[in-house]
Symmetry: C2
Subunit: 208 residues, 2 copies
C-alpha cells in the first residue's frame, strides 16, 4: 500500500482492541519520531513511551476518560523542554561535534545563532518548542500508518495534571500532545466507518 | 527504500539545482499534506504553492536571501486562518455533512464542541492553528522524502513581509512556515555531506 492509501486508511482511532503493537514496529515508529525534522535540529522535547497499565489508569481521568489512554497498546506523550538553557545549547553543540567528529570550536557560528534562544521569553520558547513536537507527531502518525498501526493524535487532556502524574516538573518538561498507538476496534468505534473529511484541494491550496 | 532509510536520506536542503519536481510527484506530496491530521479535522490553514519566479524573487529578501526560495522547484507557504470564525465552523460542518451524506443537524454535538473555538482569544487560536500546520509540514516532509524529493522546512523569514507580498491580510491568513521542494545541489551544498545529528534514543525517549 502506498503513502496516499495509508493516509486514507488511517483515522483518529477512538477505540482499540487489546492487541499489542509488536516491538519491532514500535521501534520503527520511534525511530521515525527520532529522525523528525526540527528547527536548528534541536529537538527541544522528550517523548514518553507509556505501556505501564497502572500509570495509564492514573492518566485516564486527566484525559477526560477517553478510552484510548488505557485501551491502546502504548501512548506516546510529547513534552517540551520547559526552558531552553545555555546548558542545553552546549550539550547540543557537543552532540553535533561528537556525531560528526569535529571540534566544538568549528561550530562557533552555528552556536552563535542558537545563543539567541535562551534570551527569548519563556512563553515564546514554549510555543516554538511545541510547534517542533507537532512535526514529530506528524512524522509519527505517518510512520504508524505505514506500519499498519492505528494511532490517535490527542490534545484533549489536562496538561498540568499530566505533568503532575508523570513528575515532569522535576524533569523540566511540559506535556504538549499525546499519540496513542494500537489496533482499531472497528466494532466498538463508529468513527472507523466515517468517510474522511478534508477541505477540497481548490480550497486548501492557492497556486501562484 | 523504506521509511527509515528515506528519513536518513533527507535533510534540510540549502541549495537546489534547477530541476523541476514532476507534476505527479508534486501532486502526491500535496495530497499527503491535504490528508494530514489536525485537531477536530478542521485544518485551520491554507497552503500556498508557489512556482512563479517573479513572486519568489520578491519573497527572497523577506527570507533573508536564503537561496532555497528562488532555487527550489516550488515553495509551499503554510498560512493559518487569522481568525476562527463561526462562519468557518459552519462551512466545516457543512463540508462534513456533504462528504458523509448526512444532515447538518446530526452534527449538532460535534458543532457544539467546535463552538468554543471562535470564543477563545485570537492569539490562542493563532498558536493552536500554527501547531496544526506543523503536522502538515511533518507529513509533507515525509511524503517528499518517500518521493525522493528534497525539501527544506523554513522558519527563518519575516512573516509580516510574506503576508504583505502575498496579500494574505485580505485573505484572512498569516504566514507560519515554508517548505521548499526540489532537488539538492550536492556540490554547492556542504550540508548535504554532514552526518545527521539527533539526540540518542536513551535521551529522547523515557519508557514507562
Amino acid at each position: 500500500m502506498n503513502l496516499i492509501e495509508r493516509l486514507n486508511w488511517r483515522y483518529a482511532t477512538k477505540r482499540y482492541t487489546n492487541v499489542k503493537v509488536p516491538p519491532e514496529k514500535l521501534q520503527r515508529i520511534l525511530e521515525a519520531v527520532q529522525l523528525s525534522a526540527s528547527s536548528f535540529g534541536l529537538q527541544p522535547y522528550k517523548v514518553l513511551v507509556i505501556e505501564n497499565e497502572e500509570l495509564r489508569k492514573k492518566l485516564l481521568p486527566a484525559a477526560y476518560n477517553q478510552p484510548q489512554i488505557t485501551e491502546a497498546s502504548h501512548i506516546l506523550v510529547f513534552a517540551v523542554w520547559e526552558n531552553i538553557t545555555s546548558e542545553k545549547i552546549d550539550q547540543y553543540i557537543q552532540r553535533i561535534a561528537d556525531v560528526r567528529g569535529i571540534t566544538v570550536e568549528s561550530l562557533a557560528d552555528f552556536k552563535g545563532r542558537l545563543a539567541s534562544l535562551p534570551a527569548r521569553p519563556a512563553e515564546q520558547n514554549l510555543n516554538w518548542a511545541a510547534r517542533q513536537t507537532y512535526i514529530a507527531l506528524g512524522t509519527g502518525l505517518v510512520a504508524a500508518a505505514l506500519e499498519g498501526i492505528d494511532a490517535s493524535p490527542m490534545e484533549g487532556f489536562n496538561p498540568a495534571e499530566f505533568d503532575e502524574i508523570l513528575n515532569l516538573k522535576e524533569k523540566g518538561l511540559k506535556t504538549v500532545s499525546i499519540m496513542a498507538l494500537g489496533y482499531r476496534d472497528a466494532e466498538k468505534d463508529p468513527v472507523s466507518k466515517f468517510k474522511k473529511v478534508r477541505w477540497p484541494k481548490e480550497q486548501l491550496f492557492i497556486h501562484f
